[in-house]
Point group: C2
Chain length 296, copies 2
């Protein structure tokens, strides 16, 4: 059993990006600039955005945090988005979700210019991804692909079972892993809440990507010997004995499943840390493409 | 065994659309207007486009055929596309593929305005489809969904195996059938050229959608009793005894497979006729949305 160490790999990626950025600086070029829009004061969102901004600093990106009050109107937010689209200094930006209930999320995400959509949530980017065109791939599935690539996990012709059909993980990873290329060319089955006899699929799977959000859902008797496990579920379980009042756990019963697995991602320290690394990678790509468009 | 009669259903759909159009005329409203751009004189393309234009006439749509010489430059074609985007009289249009080799197909399809892209090939429409948003669904997968819906084929929680990962059939149908809704909620496995032991999947399948293009590929011993068969493969097999010099056949060995099937599409007369019907349906939708945007 080998751990797919997302913490280590994400640090490798950040260091690689930092090197590219330091080279950019040396050449007197503009460095990538990521902006993040946060509406309101949701605790988890504050943590995520803060972490993204800190990561930018660490690797030499410029960053801008636009923190708006929770009573911001949809119109005002759309104006902010429009300004970011037109601001040539910003290479890419994210609008942190969830947005307050009085704002139509879809409308806001549709307003983000696809060329600056480093979250890869805009339908134009999603469609380009599905059609094998250059796009921004959403950070979590992109991180899974990168983890598989860096550990040289053999996915060619393997049966990959994805659990969960969400727009940000299950759906895109099922598309990516069934395309041509490295860490892909898999035969992918996408399972979900309406799937009958899920165990029949998980027991047959060479690779399982679980993005369900149900702690310890996948048990040892549901998988076969040698399976590769990618655990995307991150749930905070209340626990008074912990300083934070909770602990983090995944979809996979690690104690039961890991002895049977050939590779497995831990939670925390697996897919989670990859997500920020790939957001930074997308921002670097946005900078490079921005530059190419200007020089075209 | 029940035949999924695409010829009959496509006629039903055309009649329904014709009724809507005749109502539009009675109300003094503008009727849908489809344009088709054809570059060169490829025989099959001429046939397809001709058939589309005739269908428009039959159901009361306006139609425009823009037939350009095969030596048309990419720039000239892009200008034509731009003109169609800006022509308020045209609700939707298609650019017939394949284009001559000196023209970049992707570039042309990207230039079609998503609101007029009744083929559903633009990444913005493809992405919206994958993200459960209002879009234009490519005609062939849309036709398959409609056929399943009209015959009330139970797909909920069933195992659907799709053969072939093309952008116009395999990929979109694998997405559509695994979404929520009628004729969907299936557990979908997308198989392709790199799949190992395809038979293991086809034998387990409750529903098989074959979009491979290899005549008589799917044999009786590759499927289970009661399977639903959707045969999208349409191949012209040379045959001197036929007046046309060929006959049309599908991916499925009909003689072997049909006795085991609960439902099966014939070739010809199955998925094929549905494609034009759904293109017309998309054009009607384009007209209605065009109108809604103007009144908004």
């Amino acid at each position: 059993m080998k751990i797919l160490d997302g913490k280590k790999v994400s640090n490798d990626i950040k260091n690689e990006i930092a090197e590219v950025v330091s080279q950019m600086k040396e050449n007197g070029e503009k460095v990538p600039h990521l902006a993040a829009v946060l509406v309101g004061n949701d605790g988890a969102s504050l943590t995520y955005v803060g972490s993204k901004v800190r990561s930018c600093k660490r690797i030499g990106f410029e960053s801008t945090l636009i923190h708006l009050p929770s009573e911001t109107t949809e119109a005002a937010l759309l104006k902010e988005v429009e300004a970011l689209n037109n601001n040539d200094a910003i290479d890419g930006y994210i609008v942190q979700l969830p947005l307050p209930k009085h704002i139509d999320e879809e409308k806001v995400l549709m307003a983000v210019h696809p060329d600056k959509d480093v979250d890869g949530f805009h339908p134009t980017n999603f469609g380009k991804m599905a059609l094998d065109m250059e796009s921004f791939i959403p950070a979590t599935p992109y991180g899974i692909m990168e983890l598989l690539r860096r550990y040289d996990v053999d996915t060619q012709g393997k049966h990959t079972v994805v659990i969960g059909r969400s727009h940000i993980v299950g759906r895109p990873i099922s598309i990516l892993m069934s395309q041509k290329g490295k860490a892909a060319n898999s035969t992918v089955t996408l399972t979900h809440s309406r799937t009958k006899d899920l165990e029949v699929f998980t027991k047959d799977a060479d690779i399982i990507v679980s993005a369900l959000g149900v702690p310890d859902f996948l048990k040892g008797d549901m998988v076969k010997e040698g399976v590769v496990i990618i655990d995307v579920g991150i749930t905070r379980v209340p626990d008074d004995t912990k300083e934070k009042g909770y602990y983090i756990t995944g979809d996979v019963d690690f104690a039961q499943v890991s002895p049977k697995a050939s590779y497995i991602t831990p939670v925390p320290g697996g897919v989670g840390p990859m997500t920020i690394a790939m957001l930074l990678k997308n921002t670097l790509l946005a900078r490079e493409r921005h530059n190419n468009r200007k020089n075209a």
